[in-house]
Each structure stands twice: as structure tokens, then as C-alpha cells.
Subunit: 136 residues, 4 copies
């Protein structure tokens, strides 16, 4: 796709911070970094509407906790519409990292993430809000 | 593990907001929500130090972009120490969701995430900072 | 589901071999082993017909081989109907293990497996024929 | 790596069958098919010795079966040395496809596969014997 070039006005202070960020994040130029910021905004918008989204839910838990594994499994089967597959890493003898790939309704993905988070014994949950790749 | 009970002083306004958050996030009580906040802080700390961490990097990209797939593959093999495995979802004929499970040095995980993000053609990247489960 | 009990006639020699197999495979009794044999037959049948199946394709390849990674990616996107997700393990600096979860038409799964196998540079392929779990 | 060319003597009947197989499997020539046969033999050998191997175990089970999910989880954590990660697919409301990527001792991988297979409620198990990519 052809690139369109245009000017941007920005305060000197803010530009210095932006350039430091670009360097830290290893971007090769300002345009690349700027495009990423716009995409990030578009994705936030998709997650607040009814667009199809994609993303990942991560869980950390101790699989020895009574009934925990069963509960997590039942919740996931209830959200079969929004879950594609999950990846399970045995971190050590007790702890598990589970990464659930989601695609579909943002509302359902958020409900899934909240449901898993509220299960007693789940130590930590994150929700990566990403996109199905169209419109960004 | 036995639970210890203690009092917390908090402004009324802040408590109202906290209770709304608890309800939105489906927590059954304040203690559970409070424990999660503490764990979140501990994980932030682990990622800023040299503790072993776990987490996930998500990528969205169009696999038809020239040389993109090769570049992503080469970067991942250079970071073999911190990558456990990755999960690949074919979103549609063009777009891919790739979720990389990481475990090890937080610095290396951040470097991996930044390296992948800076590859031209990668539309979106997220980094889920989580934990190996000990000390939280 | 209630278990039905019935008698089986079998040559002594064959039974001795069967019992040895049961011991090697750690079955707790003959019925359990016998049920597995029947299920195995049913699955073979599903893969020869038009029933929906599930399974896994594994690949071993050297990702440095010119164009190999791109070709494998393009083939997988052409078979989007039958692929759910794939798991990628970086075995060492050169070698990759890729495990593709498949669900759908047995003919398509076989075509996918054969297409990937015939790509120059793929060192080894296996196809695990399993089932979606119904009717076995 | 340079290719070495040499002659092979083979019965006409067997060659006809071989050529039919090549066509069915979409190989572009006999040499490619022949190399695969040799690699297959080498991998069989690796799995009977003490060489490091890689592969995949697939399981089909009904996650509603009492205690089944817990048992499978506990077994997998006992075999942490040989398991890299696992991929979980929710086939429908009852049935699960779990694919476990293994790397390490062939004896341990076989013991893992047998242990999972013997759990009551597991409907089907397969073991894909593959390789870490070296020496084939």
C-alpha cells in the first residue's frame, strides 16, 4: 500500500519524550512509531464496540488447589464461541501458565476474562486486547 | 494457607469506586479484589528486577508481507532462552495471530517484544506481564 | 453409562500376548484394553469416511532453508477450514517442531498432511488420526 | 548440503507399488520419497535408544468425567522434564482434544503416553514419534 506523507505539529518537550520512546522501543523512524499509536487507538475502539476482535487471556494458577482445574475447564467450555485454543505451560510442580487465544465478540472475551479472574485460586490474569487484523 | 485479617482505612469516595470496580469485575468480596491488586504490584516489581518472570507476547501480522515470516522466525530463534513455545492462529487468508509464551529474564522478554514490534509489517504487539507463580 | 458384560473366546496363545501387552501399556484390566481396541477401529473407520475427525500433524524442519517457512505458512492458510491452531517449538537454533491441530474433513486433513510433507526441506511429518469424541 | 547420487536395484512389482505411493503422497520424485523412508527408520531407531527425541501425544476425553481433568494435570506435572507445552482445543461442550509437545528421553515420553492412556475416561491417545531434527 502506498504511504502518504504529511506534517505534524508538536511541542518540543513532547517530541523529545517521543524520540526517547522510539529509541527505547527500537523503532527505526517516527512514522513507524506513529502508525503503531494510531493502530493502538483503533484497537481500543474495536474492543469497546461490536467489531470482531482477537486477543489472549493469560492465567497463573496452582493446579493443586481443590476443584480449581475443573472450574477453569467448565468456564472455558461455556465460552466455546470465543475461544480458539489454549496453550498450557507447566511452570513448575505447582504452577501453571495458561494462554487462551480468543476471537469474536469483545464483550464475550471480557466476560470470559472476568469469569476466570474471579475463580478463587487464580493468582493472576491478563487480557491482551488485539485485533483480527482488518481495519488497522 | 491461613488468611490474616486486618483493617484498612480508605476515603469514602475511593471506596465507592473500588466497590463499583469489584462489582464490574465479578469479585465476590473486597479481600479477593485487594489481594489481586497486591499481586499486580508484586508482578510489576518482578518485571523491573532480575526475578524470573512468565508472560505472553501477541503479534498480529499479514503473512503475505515479503520476508516478514522469515524475520519473525529468525528473531524468535535468537531468543530461544526466553521462549517456551508459540501458538499460531490463522485468522483469515491474510492475517495471523501469534502468541509466544515466555519464561525467564524480564529484560530478555522485553527485548524480544520490542524486536518483534519493530519489524515492518507487524500490525500490533502486546506484552502480557505475568509471573512464574512464586512469591505472589 | 452402564457397562455391559459379555464373554469372549480367544486362543490361549493370543490371550498370553494380549495380557503381556496390557501389562506393558499399564492397563488395569482386560476390558479397558479391549474398549481401546474397539475405539481405535472406529476411528480408523471415521478417517476413511466423511465423518468429522480431529487430529494433529507434526512437522520437523530447519527454518533456515530458503523459502521453507513461507511455503509452510501459505499451505496452512490455504487449509484454513481444517486447521484450528498450531503450536511451534524452537528445538534449537536451526530446528523447529510444529504441531497443527486439525478438525473437520478427514480428506482435507490428509491432503494438508501430504502437502506439507512434500515441501522440500521438511525432514519429518506425522499424522495423528484421532476423533472429535462422538461415537467412540 | 550436496546430494550424492547412486543406483538402487529393486523388483519391478515393488517399484510399481512404490511409484503409486509416491503419486498418492504427492512426492515430486523417487529420491525425495526414498530420503523420507530412511529418515523414518532413523527416527524409529532414536525412539528405541537413548537419543533425545521430540514428538506429540494427543488425547481425546470428556472433561465432565469426575476427577479426570485433575488426574491428567497431575500426571503431566509429574512428567515436567519431558513436556514442553500443551495445546488444548474445546471440540464441543463435552469433548477436548489435548496435544502435548514432548522433547527429551524416549523412555519418558512413552511412559507419559502410557500413563495418560490408562486413565479411565480417556477415549483415545496417539503418540507421534518424531525427532529433534539432528542426525536425520
Amino acid at each position: 500500500m502506498p504511504l502518504i506523507r504529511f506534517g505534524v505539529s508538536i511541542e518540543k518537550d513532547l517530541l523529545i519524550k517521543f524520540d526517547r520512546l522510539i529509541k527505547d522501543k527500537k523503532y527505526t523512524n517516527r512514522s513507524e512509531a506513529f502508525r503503531d499509536l494510531i493502530r493502538q487507538e483503533l484497537i481500543q475502539e474495536q474492543w469497546q464496540g461490536n467489531h470482531e476482535i482477537a486477543g489472549a487471556v493469560t492465567l497463573i494458577y496452582n493446579h493443586h488447589k481443590r476443584e480449581l482445574v475443573n472450574k477453569l475447564m467448565h468456564i472455558q467450555h461455556d465460552f466455546g464461541q470465543v475461544i480458539i485454543s489454549s496453550q498450557h505451560i507447566h511452570l513448575d510442580h505447582n504452577n501453571c501458565l495458561e494462554i487462551i487465544a480468543v476471537k469474536g465478540s469483545p464483550k464475550e472475551a471480557l466476560r470470559l476474562s472476568d469469569s476466570l479472574k474471579s475463580v478463587k485460586g487464580v493468582k493472576h490474569t491478563t487480557l491482551s486486547m488485539s485485533s483480527v487484523g482488518n481495519g488497522i
